[in-house]
């Protein structure tokens, strides 16, 4: 499903993103000599970017359409998302969320079907 991206595209992306990221990092450090304070509207708006963007990046991956599954969504990804959200909320720790989320994914996908099959 994931075919290898072309090297040209990858390296161009690396270069462009590196330059843009440096520009973002340097922006106010460079400019603050010229403007006395940070415009408050920038501050206010930037506050919401991480919340909106990170959630937008995360949520769709847990809602995988599956017509054969009860409820229309694949249970493994959904369960991983719900459990992952609980862990993320409590720990705010990346590694913990990934570990528990992946464990949930594998459990629902690989272990649970066998358990269910044992039920007479």
């Amino acid at each position: 499903m994931t075919a290898t991206p072309s090297p040209v595209r990858v390296w161009l992306a690396v270069a462009l993103i590196a330059v843009i990221t440096f520009a973002l990092r340097f922006s106010f450090i460079f400019a603050l000599g010229r403007f006395e304070t940070v415009p408050p509207w920038i501050d206010r708006t930037l506050r919401f970017v991480p919340a909106a963007v990170m959630t937008a990046l995360a949520v769709p991956a847990f809602l995988v359409a599956d017509p054969t599954a009860v409820g229309g969504f694949s249970h493994a990804e959904l369960a991983a998302g719900l459990v992952g959200a609980l862990v993320a909320r409590r720990t705010e720790d990346v590694a913990a969320t990934v570990l528990v989320g992946m464990a949930t994914l594998w459990f629902v996908r690989f272990v649970l079907p066998h358990v269910v099959a044992l039920i007479p």
């Binding site: 992306a13 940070v38 990046l57 995360a58 969320t97």
Partner: protein, 230 residues
């Protein structure tokens, strides 16, 4: 006045807990890069040149999905926008340095080094601000690249079928919850997530940008409705 080298070393030393905490994250990102189909040099290039985990994951994920380059770069830029906050907030401490030094200190500035350093400056303002934050940042950079290399090395040896790239949305999930601080930010998150799903049929993964814009808008609205006219 502290000597720059001394405070650089203090920064490196003080950042030890942060360095340890960064290892699993860097490892996961390196591992995922290879699982997504990037070659080891490409994965290394991303880590070494950008030093921005969430943006790396977003960009690599989109590259693997053959999304147009411009959208990849733009999405990565949007994911990285919060770096502007760090730049703005630490800039006053760095005003007295030469241009060259400012650029150097800025080049590896990340959320963790910014947050830790600001807290330290408030405790002890006599620190050499620039060299201290550079010590923190550079040590984190070394750890990032090192743990990334370890993840890259392991990534090629893992059998398919484990769906390890599912780590990507899990990382974003953790980062999302870290950013929820109050009602407006939670509103921004929930609406961003909802719109991302509802507009998922848009081409070129534009739903991410649309959702981001919408979420920020909702956040600003709830903030404004909340009472204090800032």
């Amino acid at each position: 006045m502290h000597r720059p080298p001394a405070d650089f070393s203090s920064g490196v030393r003080d950042a030890l807990p942060l360095q340890v905490g960064l290892v699993p994250y860097g490892f996961i990102v390196g591992l995922t890069a290879v699982r997504l189909g990037l070659t080891p040099p490409e994965a290394f290039g991303f880590a070494a040149a950008t030093f921005a985990g969430a943006a790396q994951l977003a960009a690599m994920n989109l590259l693997a999905a053959h999304v147009p380059l411009l959208v990849v770069v733009f999405t990565a830029a949007v994911v990285n926008l919060r770096v502007l906050m760090y730049s703005a907030s630490i800039a006053p401490y760095l005003q007295s340095y030469r241009f060259r030094e400012k650029a150097l200190f800025a080049s590896v500035l990340v959320g963790m080094s910014y947050a830790h350093s600001i807290a330290e400056f408030q405790r002890d303002d006599s620190l050499d601000h620039g060299w201290y934050v550079f010590g923190v940042s550079l040590s984190l950079y070394v750890v990032w690249v090192g743990s990334g290399l370890a993840g890259i090395a392991l990534g090629g040896r893992i059998p398919d079928g484990l769906d390890l790239t599912f780590a990507v949305p899990l990382v974003f999930l953790a980062l999302a919850f870290s950013s929820f601080r109050d009602r407006p930010t939670i509103a921004a998150g929930l609406s961003g997530g909802a719109v991302a799903v509802l507009s998922s049929s848009l081409p070129m993964r534009l739903n991410l940008v649309v959702a981001g814009l919408f979420g920020v808008g909702v956040g600003l609205l709830i903030d404004r409705l909340g009472g204090d006219p800032a």
